[in-house]
Symmetry: C2
Subunit: 358 residues, 2 copies
Amino acid sequence: MSLTVVRTTLADCEQICRKALTKVGLPATAAGIVAENITSAERDGCASHGMFRLPGYCESLRNGKINAEAVPVSSFPAPGCVVVDAGGGLSLPARNVGLPLLVERARSQGVATLVISRAFHFAALWPDVEALAAKHGLVAFAFLNSKAFVAHAPGGVKPLYGTNPFAFSCPRLSSDGGLSEEPLVFDQASAAMARGDMQLAARSGTPLPPGAALDANGEPTVDAAAGLQGAQLPFGGHKGSSIALMVELLAASLGGDAFAFEALASDSGDGGPTKHGELILAIDPGRCGGQGREAFLARVETLMTHIEAEALEAGASGRSLRLPSQRRFQNRKRTPVEGIEISEDLYQRCLNLAGDDP
Amino acid sequence: MSLTVVRTTLADCEQICRKALTKVGLPATAAGIVAENITSAERDGCASHGMFRLPGYCESLRNGKINAEAVPVSSFPAPGCVVVDAGGGLSLPARNVGLPLLVERARSQGVATLVISRAFHFAALWPDVEALAAKHGLVAFAFLNSKAFVAHAPGGVKPLYGTNPFAFSCPRLSSDGGLSEEPLVFDQASAAMARGDMQLAARSGTPLPPGAALDANGEPTVDAAAGLQGAQLPFGGHKGSSIALMVELLAASLGGDAFAFEALASDSGDGGPTKHGELILAIDPGRCGGQGREAFLARVETLMTHIEAEALEAGASGRSLRLPSQRRFQNRKRTPVEGIEISEDLYQRCLNLAGDDP
């Protein structure tokens, strides 16, 4: 792994992604959606879901595992339920078809679900819920599984669950009385550690924190290479394991999609995503409890300002207390001005995929 | 604390609770609902939500903090949303008014919410979701806050969040092709440790596991008495802290109810519950993804039998791998036959509350 980095702009990142994805047959609109998603991860300082993902996307599109030409098809099996069948294509274009329908149903019904089925998801999860809060004032959840990397805890020794992130967002009030562009958002894996971080630790020989992995014999290990051969562990012991199981059920079984252990068994090993389901759930918080949006947002601010006051106090005592997503919002202000850093190896690889000379 | 125990029957437990609750003015129907709930906790081996709760209920009903005469009032602010205003009474009777309405809406809309507002909840949370899966075939969540016991992590040193349990249930197929009476259910606090267990540890001088509490100076402690004066910690570090925050928002802000820090500030210290909100959310899993109930249940069994096979394998290797709620289901078969054990002190106290001679 090269430690040399290239400094570039968000616009350059987006253009490279767009070109590379178009080159392997993804139609322009879908390529734009994926390029925008990768770029927003780089913008927010989340390198593991940024350009790092481009080679996997391109390979799976090139070899036909992902259907580049898939057209998402939506249906309404119930008044509060939207299904988008991605048809073996990418999840993000299917999500973009489904989200406006979800918003409309959440508004009219008070609560609604969006099941995205037969889709390849390889992106960070927070973009799937952030705009629901920031633009539409909805409380939202997203649940996604992956192929199996994580053992059941306690007692499991084999990969059973995906890293199984779940994301949550809640709208906040802006100073002008509208919706804040910085809602409360978190997006966290049920695994103790991100798969990508474990891969990076293995390459650099950095030890893992205790409790993150088991080796192939089922023994606890801090050796990242051994952990990659064995199984990751969920965060927080049996409680994290229950959450991993819940995410597995919500993401996969509602739409008849693959569980992580099935996705692992059928994985082609091409470095790209595997085919999954996803559940996004949205609540109209003003209607749900009957108190109206303003009263709801005022209540949320009561809690948030209480926490922010404690964060200030903590800062004055040399402690760091942060609300989830604060680091992302800070990066988001910085990177459009300062640009982003990409490892030279990866940048060169992405340039090659885009067909550009360095 | 006496270590002497009394062995008694579930019927005796239920009768004592019913008498004691009626004696402090709770109408017969509500007393029956609460007595049944306490008894089901004893039946399932969950002593911390069993007769242990009776003195607190009785005191708060006696001193008028809980309105014994409250009549729950339901409304439908949106097609998918039910609200039950408990009117400052107990949560369980309000829940019993709301659940049939929630079931009806989840069936007709595909997904529905039930907000229970202005309610005193002092019970285990799994009964609020278990029957939704076992009797009605719904996937369900429940979110409940409490008064503040738990610090934000990392960086927090003061009680901010409640112990904030969330419960989840998913229906399973029985061997006769119907719904299993033993669905997948979990009910877990966002705190690393139950408050009741910390109180018991303080009384017996047992050290806490590391990572469960901070002392009043904000330093990590394994001294339970010091932890009770300081703050509990969430399970799983910052991820558990995010979940505690999510539960706080879902349980309290949708219905305009008290956050944990507000409930702490206004608590009378009578040993009973504080006034809160609760959110229960139910999905009709056959309709939500459009595949029908049978196909959904078959998918769930595919995952469950895979996990159960791994559990057998684990058992053969001397490891214990269990699905959530298995211990509860085992206790449930045992206690109706063998009876239950209650500490003599507590049993005597409950008998006195019921006005029975020992």
